[in-house]
């Protein structure tokens, strides 16, 4: 009987397996993450300030860059992988993201809708005068 396979603790660096394949050292993983994060941050700041890009698309582009950087942090700093020893961590993360999505998207949707259906204040003034 083999040893029981426990899940990996979140944030733990995966143990090195004795194989022929080359594996990056742990410090290199963090450094790669730092380089990618710096690149994405610099791109975000450039996108926000440039006039080259189509202005209405900038907000969406910034959101995409931020989500990409969060992914970089999760993979390179928190060592979240799709491996079978990480299922519990990923499932908990997925549930958290579901709640975050419902809260943020739901709130902005409902309140934007309410704002759009709100009578403009000039109309309110007219109503008061007609009475």
């Amino acid at each position: 009987m083999t040893e029981p396979q426990f899940d990996r603790a979140p944030g733990d660096i995966p143990a090195h397996v004795e194989t022929q394949a080359w594996e990056p050292s742990d410090a290199l993983v963090y450094t790669t993450g730092l380089v990618l994060a710096v690149l994405l941050t610099a791109t975000s700041f450039w996108v926000a300030n440039t006039s080259v890009l189509w202005a209405p698309g900038i907000a969406l582009g910034l959101v995409v860059l931020a989500i990409a950087q969060m992914g970089v942090h999760l993979v390179f700093f928190l060592h979240i992988t799709t491996g079978p020893d990480n299922t519990n961590n990923v499932l908990a993360l997925a549930f958290g993201l579901l709640i975050v999505l419902i809260v943020v998207a739901g709130t902005t949707w409902i309140i934007t809708d309410l704002n759009a259906n709100m009578m403009p204040s000039s109309d309110l003034m007219n109503l008061r005068m007609q009475r």
Binding site: M1, T2, E3, P4, Q5, F6, D7, R8, A9, P10, G11, D12, I13, D26, A27, Y30, T31, G33, L34, A37, V38, T41, S44, F45, V47, A48, N49, A55, I58, A59, L62, V63, L65, A66, Q69, M70, H73, L74, F77, L78, N88, N89, A92, L93, F95, G96, I99, V100, V103, V104, G106, T107, T108, I111
Partner: protein, 209 residues
């Protein structure tokens, strides 16, 4: 028949963790802290949603574009990002029980975190000095709630880091200290993830036209 045999083999080789003894304490503790961090992120999501709803409600007061200084935000972002990196290097030093590397990593992490907090407090002080207080408008209330909550987390993390270094100095690398240090690095990386959302939504979207 063959399928049944194959399934039996899988069961034998991949002995399910639920049938074994409980998971080691390190995994249980880190997983519990992971759940806490996710609930913390959900709390930040509510603050983000509040901010997104109230960002235009300036009540005639100053707007984000007038208040935010992108240079400061870029330095703050750099401080927090590099401190997250040095926190990771500190975790490596802890893993191999090198106390010099641990102290050095903790020192740089603390210095960068403190620099971040100092810049943020200076920004808040400048805003309050020109009358942009939380009472001024709904936008500023939401701003101070969101960014201030993150700042409070960073401050708590700095205190935690000092306490952990005192524990390393007095107790050494015992398993309990190991677990707490693992939780600390999870916390610090999570704060950086929240800051990514924060500088994008508050500062960059606030100043771009």
């Amino acid at each position: 028949m063959n399928v049944a045999v194959a399934i039996d083999q899988v069961h034998e080789t991949q002995y399910a963790a639920s049938e074994a003894s409980p998971a080691p304490k390190r995994i249980v503790v880190a997983y519990g802290f992971w759940i806490f961090l996710l609930s913390d992120i959900v709390m930040f999501a509510t603050l983000f949603a509040t901010y997104a709803v109230l960002v235009r409600s300036t009540a005639g007061g100053p707007t984000g574009a007038q208040l935010f200084n992108q240079g400061t935000v870029a330095i703050e972002t750099g401080c927090l990002l590099v401190s997250s990196y040095t926190c990771g290097l500190m975790a490596l030093a802890i893993g191999s029980r090198r106390s010099t590397g641990t102290y050095f990593g903790a020192l740089i992490t603390f210095a960068l975190g403190a620099a971040f907090l100092a810049l943020e407090l200076r920004e808040f002080a400048n805003m309050i000095a020109i009358g942009a207080t939380p009472q001024r408008s709904a936008f500023l209330s939401a701003f101070f709630a969101l960014v201030g909550c993150h700042g409070l987390h960073v401050g708590a993390g700095l205190i935690w880091l000092v306490v952990m270094m005192a524990q390393v100095a007095t107790k050494g690398f015992v398993p309990a200290v190991h677990r707490r240090l693992l939780c600390f690095s999870l916390f610090w990386h999570a704060l950086d993830i929240i800051w990514v959302g924060l500088f994008t939504v508050v500062y960059l979207m606030g100043v771009s036209p």
